[in-house]
């Protein structure tokens, strides 16, 4: 990436001098690397600023482009906010959106999906894998339903691409958003895959201008970012298998040790899950308070309300049927190819000790231990 920040300063859209050609060549090469990772053709890759833009372009772009065909979109209630908010925008613009509930394990119900499809349905937007619990959706089955009904399939695959094999043709996906920084690449660059054959898919541009990216996304390309994204994709192809074996082994070790803590529960389906994610609720301790015990050395996130300005706990965990109290008590662990055995051992010790310490100062833990029925208490909801 560095040369493209410094010496090779050409604009990939400048067609009249060698500086532009060099940049264009670098972008073309990266486009091939990115396409290869997901089994696509280079021409099917639209570079974006990240997956939030890809989600917006994919959903709003299809809604506008296929307005004459219908106005109904089906999605689910554990999607990333970028998808949910793009769908809300579609509703404001006169579209209709069905938000499917997920089952307790975080998987969508295929029968419910099929029942939701109607003549006006133009798009199904289901994430490949969830960002909080790592649960992988049955993309091939979803695609079969979409194909059978002549509906396009969009997928936010941010969490899956680079971590598990994703192939837009084998999986039958028509549009797919993903991003570099979730696969060890730079921040601020991503891609939207848009199918060109069987069927040929088009989206209406959401950013108008010079007609870059085949008219679907105007704006000067982020050449250094794109070069880094390409390299990250190349490395993912080479290392995905061993990365997955490495992270899943350490993830399982972490999880098996942490669920030995009394009243600790894993959230989401453990059989259909990304190799590097674990989401665990430690009942009767609050997630943000828990993180504070080790946040100097361990970066995790929590479904607790206190971590966000909204003061609402994780909508993903609530969608699984978890009570607000368990959602507040959750931690999400994300591992990487760089995570070491020592780090996992340290994490097991630090998290366990903090849970025990906080329970010693938790009135709820005391009540639980004394057999107090907490449902019977009239809590002052604030």
């Amino acid at each position: 990436m560095i040369p493209f920040f410094t010496n090779n300063f050409g604009n990939a859209a400048s067609r009249n001098h060698p500086f532009g050609w060099a940049a264009e060549e670098a972008v073309d090469y990266a486009r091939e690397q990115v396409a290869k990772l997901i089994g696509a053709e280079p021409k099917e890759i639209i570079f974006t600023s990240g997956a939030t833009e890809g989600d917006n372009l994919g959903i709003k772009g299809v809604f506008e482009m296929y307005a004459s065909k219908g106005n109904h979109i089906i999605t689910c209630n554990i999607e990333h906010k970028a998808v949910l908010d793009a769908c809300k925008h579609v509703e404001k613009m006169g579209g209709e959106v069905t938000y499917l509930d997920v089952q307790e394990n975080g998987m969508i119900d295929l029968k419910e999906l099929e029942a939701a499809i109607k003549p006006s349905t133009i798009l199904i937007a289901i994430m490949y894998a969830n960002n909080e619990i790592g649960v992988i959706q049955p993309m091939k089955e979803i695609s079969a339903l979409a194909r059978k009904n002549g509906v396009l399939l969009f997928s936010d695959a941010v969490q899956a691409v680079g971590k598990i094999p994703v192939d837009v043709n084998k999986d039958g996906i028509d549009l797919m958003a993903f991003t570099a920084h979730k696969m060890y690449g730079p921040k601020g660059v991503g891609a939207l895959y848009v199918r060109r054959k069987n069927p040929r898919v088009k989206v209406t541009a959401q950013i108008d201008g010079g007609g870059h990216e085949r008219g679907m996304r105007s704006g000067t390309l982020n050449v250094p970012g794109i070069v880094g994204f390409g390299k990250a994709c190349e490395l993912a192809i080479a290392e995905m298998e061993q990365d997955a074996a490495h992270t899943s082994r350490l993830r399982d070790k972490l999880e098996q040790a942490l669920v030995l803590v009394e009243e600790a529960y894993v959230n989401g389906d453990i059989n259909n899950r990304l190799p590097h994610v674990s989401n665990i609720s430690f009942k009767y301790v609050e997630g943000e308070g828990l993180m504070m015990g080790f946040n100097k050395n361990i970066a995790v996130s929590s479904g607790s309300a206190c971590t966000s300005a909204s003061l609402e706990p994780s909508y993903v965990l609530k969608a699984l049927g978890l009570g607000d109290d368990l959602a507040h008590s959750s931690l999400r662990f994300g591992l990487s190819r760089f995570t070491t055995e020592e780090q996992i051992d340290y994490t097991i010790k630090a998290v366990t000790e903090t849970v025990l310490k906080l329970r010693d100062m938790s009135p709820l833990w005391e009540m639980y231990k004394e057999g107090v029925d907490m449902e019977s208490i009239e809590w002052a909801h604030h």
Binding site: W365, M374, W379
Partner: protein, 139 residues
């Protein structure tokens, strides 16, 4: 936003964690918040019945670091005060002392509510009327 040093200190070295015997007449217990809201505080005071002085205070809190720090600080401030003096503790004093950001003000409100609730429990147990407090507006 980073936590203030005082919040971090109370979190790692909380003062007065524990439980007083709530069945005793000179112990007042306040339990505020709700598990679904992500914070529950239980604050207890032990009062010398002859002098009206708070001789001990204990807390247990389920919540974030700021909630733990607010209740820890409250117990420190309560000890040695008379029950009447304790009523003057304002949540904004806690905000100031701990440097709480706006999003954490509710933690201090909860601590103030817990103090008032513990005092009222003590008053009712000892034949006094409960004080009617204005609804806190911050919630």
């Amino acid at each position: 936003m980073a936590y203030s040093e005082k919040v971090i200190d109370h979190y790692h070295n909380p003062k007065n964690v524990g439980t007083l015997d709530k069945s005793r007449k000179n112990v007042g217990t306040g339990l505020v918040g709700a598990p679904e809201c992500g914070d529950v505080m239980r604050l207890q005071i032990e009062v010398d019945e002859t002098t009206g002085t708070i001789t001990d205070a204990k807390f247990k809190t389920f919540g974030c670091g700021s909630a733990i720090a607010s209740s820890s600080l409250a117990t420190e401030w309560l000890k040695g005060k008379s029950v009447d003096q304790a009523l003057t503790i304002d949540n904004m004093d806690i905000v100031e002392e701990l440097n709480l950001p706006p999003v954490k003000i509710h933690c201090s409100v909860l601590a103030e509510d817990a103090i008032k609730s513990a005092i009222n429990d003590y008053r009712v147990k000892n034949g006094m009327e409960a004080i009617q407090f204005e609804e806190s507006l911050v919630h």
